[in-house]
């Protein structure tokens, strides 16, 4: 499959580049946009970004490996990020993540991100999502869910089946 960035996206990124006196600054924003469009950051996306910004591919690749939000393989359509950190943990986030995993047939003890074989869901533990007052919180794609109990967890899964 050949890699091609739609003209409208490229125009958007060219505009973004003008926000910075030094083009390299736009790399994180490029990677966000490409990941949003393609679902993950491929080798081609890294090379394309490097070419656009006048960098070596390694300058871009080292960002993909450093920043936890960037992915090198496709993820599930519904990406469930359960907050692992203290306030959420006190409110039962470990049990919550286990519930998601068990219900989806994923390993409840594995720590890293896991994706279901049908590509519908990815479940992951992440660090404090800056909403500790409504613990436990879960970020589902772009939407933050507060005080997530078992009923809401199941509703998230039900919604995701339809995605």
């Amino acid at each position: 499959m050949s890699f091609s960035v739609p003209a409208s996206l490229e125009a958007e990124l060219d505009e973004l580049t003008t926000h910075y006196p030094v083009k390299r600054s736009a790399s994180l924003m490029f990677l966000h946009a490409l990941q949003e469009h393609f679902g993950y950051i491929s080798k081609d996306a890294v090379e394309w970004t490097a070419r656009k910004l006048g960098l070596q591919p390694i300058n871009v690749y080292e960002l993909v490996t450093f920043y936890p939000m960037f992915r090198q393989e496709p993820l599930g359509k519904t990406h469930i990020k359960v907050c692992r950190t203290l306030s959420c943990s006190l409110a039962g986030s470990a049990e919550l993540r286990e519930r998601f995993c068990t219900r989806l047939g994923l390993d409840p003890h594995a720590h890293a991100a896991q994706t279901t074989p049908d590509g519908q869901f990815t479940v992951e533990f992440v660090e404090c999502l800056a909403s500790c007052g409504t613990a436990p919180v879960v970020l589902v794609n772009e939407d933050l869910h507060h005080k997530v109990g078992t009923a809401e967890a199941d509703a998230i899964l039900k919604q995701g089946q339809k995605a």
Binding site: H19, L28, L63, L86, S87, E127, L129, A130, C132, G133
Partner: protein, 482 residues
């Protein structure tokens, strides 16, 4: 009864208050900007004149405003360090990376009142001759990033941003830049590297003080979201009135993020120092007390990096007596005024003003295990003591909370933490070490009992009474193969 005091939070939770510019202006929005930009030069008693920009910088200094991001450094002083003679452009960056565990105050402003931040930023940029500024927002806040972009667009259309702002000839652009999930981007020099399109490796200071060698090696101001919002209120109230809020040297208001084992977790704005830790936790206007039947065990008073305080502790604080002399006074934990200086005198810090409450149902070993895992995950990896040490701390606390601890682990943890703090490029080293040092020091019995119990169980199952070596060095070796 202690009351919340709403200055920054005045509008954002009011019914019908929306994040658009129309609503903001109906609530007096951008009046501070108009007023500041129309200010004449200020005559000083000694015959000198201050430009209106210089006058605002002086006002921020006089207001006593201290940074709300973590270190509590004087905002006015920070601005005064900016190198204005280099001829290089001056940049301003709003730190909206909010990722210190326990903290969720900036999120409220970003989502519900983005124009308040933008007005504060425009004022701060104008005062400091900044023409280009950024809002560095954490990657996990995509909705807030969109709201900010929309708000910036509205501000541009209204003539508050862009070229020739309000006809004064002043030009300013503000852009939103998204992080991508790394805690270390909150550290200001890591943030700057990240904004330059690199890994967020913090820079060594000296020489890389942002005020001199910041973004693109130009003078740069980095301020927290909440700090920048206060600038608007300093303009509206005047520095003298503003400084009457709060307490001396701890002026203004502060949004406290309260979480953990309380009835009513949430964000509460207070006059700095006019509410105590006890009131924050127990008063019906704030936390509303502990869960039924529970007693207080510990308080993490200023974000996960601050040193823990133990229920029942009493501190010696400097207080001015009736005779005007400073004297040491005993103040118990719950009577500690929530401010910068009192918490510092109590051996900890108010940090990002995130209070996490732990009741008697909690294991301090497990709690520290959770925090240490965070620091192990988030070390940027530049400095050996931090990269390796944070991992060892996490492994040792992990084994202690999973039945494989040793009695010597308490000493081992302390030993590693002591070898991280003060030996690293950035303050993350201290952030990783302080929870460990304070937890082990104040709850030593719990750590030792856990280790001893694990050793006993282990010896029993092995049929031998000689536990594994407790020499820290060999322990470190065995940890790596864990």
């Amino acid at each position: 009864m202690p009351e919340p005091f709403k200055l920054i939070l005045k509008n954002l939770d009011e019914p019908g208050f929306t994040p658009d510019i129309g609503c903001y202006q109906r609530h007096g929005g951008y009046e501070a900007l108009k007023r500041a930009l129309a200010m004449p030069a200020r005559d000083l008693p000694d015959g000198k004149k201050l430009s209106p920009q210089e006058a605002l910088r002086e006002d921020v200094k006089a207001s006593g405003l201290r940074g709300r991001g973590g270190a509590g450094f004087s905002a006015g002083l920070k601005w005064s360090f900016v190198d204005r003679r280099s001829g290089k452009p001056i940049y301003l960056i709003c730190n909206a990376d909010e990722s210190e565990p326990g903290t969720f105050k900036d999120r409220q402003i970003l989502h519900k009142d983005p124009h308040q931040l933008i007005e504060g930023m425009i004022l701060s940029c104008w005062a400091n001759d900044v023409k280009l500024a950024y809002i560095y927002i954490r990657g996990e806040m995509p909705v807030a990033a969109k709201l900010l972009n929309q708000a910036l667009k509205e501000a541009r259309a209204a003539g508050f941003l862009g070229k020739n702002i309000l006809g004064t000839g002043y030009d300013l652009e503000i852009h939103v830049h998204r992080g991508a999930g790394a805690y270390i981007c909150g550290e200001e020099t890591g943030l700057i590297e990240s904004l330059e399109g690199k890994r967020a490796y913090p820079r060594i200071k000296p020489p890389y003080f942002p005020a001199v060698l910041g973004l693109y090696m130009c003078p740069t101001i980095v301020n927290n979201v909440e700090t920048l919002c206060h600038v608007k209120h300093i303009v509206l109230m005047g520095p003298t009135e503003y400084a009457k809020l709060g307490t001396p040297n701890n002026t203004g208001t502060r949004i406290v993020s309260l979480s953990g084992d309380v009835q009513k977790p949430g964000y509460y704005e207070i006059q700095v120092g006019r509410v105590t830790l006890g009131e924050l936790i127990f008063d019906p206007n704030f936390g509303g007390g502990l869960k039924p039947g529970r007693t207080l065990k510990a308080i993490i008073p200023g974000g996960s990096s601050s040193k823990v305080l133990k229920a029942g502790e009493v501190f010696k604080l400097n207080r001015k007596g009736a005779d005007g002399q400073m004297a040491k006074v005993d103040v118990s934990l719950l009577d500690l005024p929530y401010d910068f200086d009192s918490l510092q005198q109590a051996g900890t810090m108010s940090g990002s003003s995130a209070v996490i409450v732990l009741d008697d149902s909690r294991s301090m070993v497990q709690t520290l295990g959770n925090l240490s895992e965070f620091y192990a995950h988030e070390s940027c990896g530049q400095c050996t003591p931090c990269r390796e040490g944070a991992l060892w701390l996490s492994k040792a606390t992990h084994r202690l909370s999973h039945g494989e601890g040793r009695k010597a682990d308490a000493d081992y943890l302390t030993h590693i933490a002591q070898n991280i703090q003060g030996r690293t490029i950035c303050a993350f080293g201290e952030a990783a070490a302080w929870p460990v040092l304070s937890f082990v020091k104040k709850f030593r019995d719990e750590f030792e009992a856990q280790g001893a119990a694990d050793e006993a169980a282990h010896a029993k199952s092995q049929g031998t009474s000689s536990p594994k070596s407790s020499d820290p060095r060999s322990a470190a070796g065995s940890l790596q193969t864990h």
